[in-house]
């Protein structure tokens, strides 16, 4: 007597489990097209930063990994790619916010070094004779002059 309802209950349970797993899979399903568009957008933003002279080599390495994951194409890879793109987007957005300061500091550093290098001849002209004489006298300070 109890066998029939039990069987129905088990079948229903199995069907529900299956439906749930399909549903979960649908949530995890990543749209490859939108992922690719996001990738292209992040690449464009990274290239613009690089053109401004900002070091983006670590981002490029991550974008390369994402490209490989997207080309693999399976759902796991696409999920990983999507997660990586999120973290890359954060880094790119942060860099974009700091870009002006980074460029300014980089220019300051570069032109300071250039100014220092160009001042070497002037410093040499002004200081070398004095330094040379100072060393010359120090080396001979115990010397006595004979008639």
């Amino acid at each position: 007597m109890l066998k029939k309802p039990l069987t129905i209950a088990i079948v229903l349970l199995l069907l529900m489990t299956q439906a749930l797993s399909i549903h979960v899979y649908a949530i995890d399903e990543i749209d490859k097209e939108s992922l690719w568009n996001k990738y292209l957008d992040l690449y464009r933003r990274t290239a613009v930063l690089a053109k401004r002279g900002i070091n983006v080599s670590s981002i490029v390495v991550e974008l390369r990994t994402v490209l490989e994951l997207i080309e693999k194409g399976d759902n796991d890879s696409l999920v990983k790619a999507s997660n990586l793109l999120e973290s890359i987007e954060e880094k790119v957005t942060k860099l974009e916010g700091e870009a002006d300061n980074i460029v300014l500091m980089e220019n300051l550093r570069k032109y300071s070094i250039v100014a220092a290098i160009l001042s070497i001849p002037l410093l040499f002209y002004l200081l070398f004779p004095r330094l040379y004489l100072a060393i010359w006298f120090r080396a001979r300070k115990r010397w006595t002059v004979e008639k």
């Binding site: 292209l40 250039v114 290098i117 160009l118 001849p121 070398f128």
Partner: protein, 168 residues
């Protein structure tokens, strides 16, 4: 030698002036003065030479592609594989009119190069048996200003003679 002698000092100063101006110029010049990209076709061992000259219709041929980026910024490059003849080769300005059979995407940072294997199908019909075809690899780059793929004007091709596959 008296280092404080006028002539000696002048020579020393001249050497230092030239050296410092040269060093400053090195720092001020742009890192990439002549941007370019490069694509190369290598054999299955990723070496130049000993390319296959005869292929079976329908087989998958293994070759190697070399890419180099010297544009001054990271470049998203795409290699498009096409099969054509001597009349449908690309030019410096236009890609081949033949359909794209395979696409390879690579991201290269400035100054980087990459060599990778490709397995390309000899997808031609029977009418090409005994004839010479060109395996074409075109270089396309993603234009960040236009937001689309553009033909870079560089390509490599390999002429091969198509043979009927042996009967198993």
């Amino acid at each position: 030698m008296n280092l404080l002698d006028d002539e000696v000092l002048a020579v020393l100063l001249a050497i230092i002036v030239v050296g410092s101006v040269f060093s400053a110029a090195q720092l001020l010049r742009p890192s990439v003065t002549e941007p370019f990209t490069a694509i190369g076709l290598l054999n299955e061992n990723c070496k130049i030479g000993e390319y296959p000259s005869k292929v079976f219709r329908g087989e998958n041929l293994t070759l190697c592609i070399y890419l180099y980026n010297h544009m001054g910024y990271p470049l998203l490059m795409q290699v498009r594989y096409k099969i054509g003849t001597n009349t449908t080769l690309p030019t410096n300005t236009t890609p081949s009119p033949m359909p794209t059979l395979l696409v390879y995407n690579k991201l290269l940072d400035n100054g980087e190069n990459i060599t990778f294997h490709v397995e390309v199908p000899i997808a031609v019909n029977e009418s090409y048996v005994g004839k010479r075809i060109a395996l074409i690899f075109e270089l396309w780059i993603y234009d960040i200003d236009r937001g689309e793929w553009v033909y870079d004007g560089r390509w490599v091709h390999l002429y091969v003679e198509v043979l009927e596959p042996p009967i198993p």
